[in-house]
């Protein structure tokens, strides 16, 4: 899926914020991931067009960063920290529990495409270890019981207001200081 008209407009706004267009690459890739949940080949090619880069350049750059996925991901990306502070407070035990609870190994996705589980490095919430994020929204400290509850809420969509679908990073849009972008609006 290429970027839709609205997101092309967002991309143009982002480009206008920087002295050099390529600086907008990562922000635009977040927009692309918000639209499709992951970076589709079509989206990567489209972003390359918008920035006058080759798809290989965009693909290579994106692949450096852990938050970008070039394969489909579950609607809920559950990222459990096992780094030092969490390690000392049961991070691995939580990860084991999560694997059993979701019935998948870290790095994989549930059949129904609801959950992708991953083990991650320090999430900077060490004061609430062990901690995790769901689509980059923070939870901690997380006991087994609270994890099970969390999974239930997510399944039933009770946390929708707090946890948007995977890919949506920042729900607040910059609304200021944007040069009036001449919208030769093409899709």
């Amino acid at each position: 899926m290429r970027l839709n008209a609205e997101n092309v407009q967002r991309a143009k706004e982002l480009i206008s914020l920087y002295p050099v267009p390529r600086s907008a690459l990562i922000p635009i890739l977040h927009v692309a991931q918000e639209q499709n949940g992951w970076l589709t080949p079509e989206a990567i090619s489209h972003v390359a067009e918008l920035l006058d880069l080759t798809p290989a350049e965009v693909y290579g750059t994106a692949s450096f960063y852990d938050m970008f996925f070039t394969e489909p991901v579950g609607r809920h990306l559950v990222s459990i920290c096992t780094n030092i502070a969490c390690l000392l407070n049961g991070g691995y035990e939580l990860l084991d529990h999560a694997e059993r609870k979701l019935g998948i190994k870290a790095g994989t996705t549930t059949e129904d495409g609801e959950f992708t589980l991953e083990e991650v490095e320090c999430l900077a919430l060490c004061g609430a270890a062990p901690c995790l994020t769901v689509n980059w929204r923070f939870f901690g400290p997380v006991t087994r019981e609270r994890f099970d509850k969390l999974v239930g809420y997510l399944r039933d969509g009770e946390l929708a207001h707090q946890v948007p679908p995977h890919g949506t990073l920042c729900r607040v849009r910059r609304s200021v200081g944007l040069p009036a972008t001449e919208s030769e609006g093409e899709a």
Binding site: P19, R22, S23, G60, Y65, A85, L88, C170, V176
Partner: protein
Amino acid sequence: MPLTDAKPIVTRRVAIPDSWTLKSYLENGGYVGLRKALTMEPEAITQEVLTSNLLGRGGAGFEAGKKWSMLRKAQPVYLVVNGDESEPATFKDHMLLETDPHQIIEGVLICAYAVGAAQAFIYVRGEFALGLERMTEALNEAYGHGAVGRNIFGSGFSVDVVIHPGAGAYICGEETALIESLEGKRGFPRIKPPFFPAAIGLYGAPTVVNNVETMSNLPWIVENGGAAFAALGIGRSTGTRIFSLSGHVNRPGNYEVEMAKVTFRDLIEDAQLGGGIRNGNQLKAFIPGGVSAPWFSPDQVDMALDQDAVGKAGSMLGSGSVVVMDETTCAVRAVWRITRFFHRESCGQCTPCREGSGWLEKIMRRIEQGAGRDEDLELLLDVCDNIAPGLGWPPQQTTICVLGPSIPSSIKSGVNMFRDEFLTHVKEGACPYG
């Protein structure tokens, strides 16, 4: 604030309801520093910051004012704010971004005015979704309030601020990698020299890179004067600083204390701070400044939170994160996990770091799982020596940036402080802590 009568500076609003809104910020003295700054000469502001001797809070602990005065004389100048906080066990910037975004923006504007920045970029760690939302909201409000953009508060000074999201790579916290990333590239650190940001930074222009907490101190310093800040703390370690306390303590969290006047013991044990080690256990070891720093043993716990003292003792305050490990901790496992972190986060440019990090993790993994060999301890140290020759402190390096030479910190600490424990793993082929 406990122990000393110094009042908190950068965290003074965090407990206030809706502290992140412009309304709350203005009700609590917000943008006063900026208004004052705009009436001063830019050089005068730099002078105040020099007087304050504010040390960078990102890890290197370099004097902020000095950094600004070292800028290559050329236009344009850019300001890049480092909010990529990824050093394990560090979680202060995360809090500041979510709870007091306006304070950061105000600090950024003061700095931008002082150094005459053409544009300012706040690089926020990608995973901080809420932080990004709060920062963006705050930026929108600040524009509306006339604090950002054209002709700020009618002063004639204009500057645009951009909130830039990262995308998940620890190395992008390193200032030159951060710049590469901000240019839309892979986060490969640049070689210094010649690529010191102050000389050749963003788009090749002279660039100031400062940490989020460093910026957050500026409104207070401008408002109260550099001398007032320097009056706090001792020697070069002036002012107050946030310490991220984690691990086996009863009250983990961020604590802003006066520098050099508080000791690690205070931080760990004081009832209003760490509240002591969990279950009354004994202290086994602690890391004074993030996992890049060599470890300290219990007999060093009375050392003051003083940048130079800690440096002399062979480690660093680094990013101000203190990790407490009690007697139940398996040192081998802890060292393995930290090594694994560096392996996963090495950018991959330099052969010694790219290949060495993986090799060291594999050896640590073997030992941890009971498949270690007697010669492995010496092998560990020699491989480390090929990344950080001499294994001294501060480390020498065969690599481009200091991520590489940070790998040996915990390995060397572990092997030297807990050699027997390592050997037990090798001999018994198992972990004594189960």
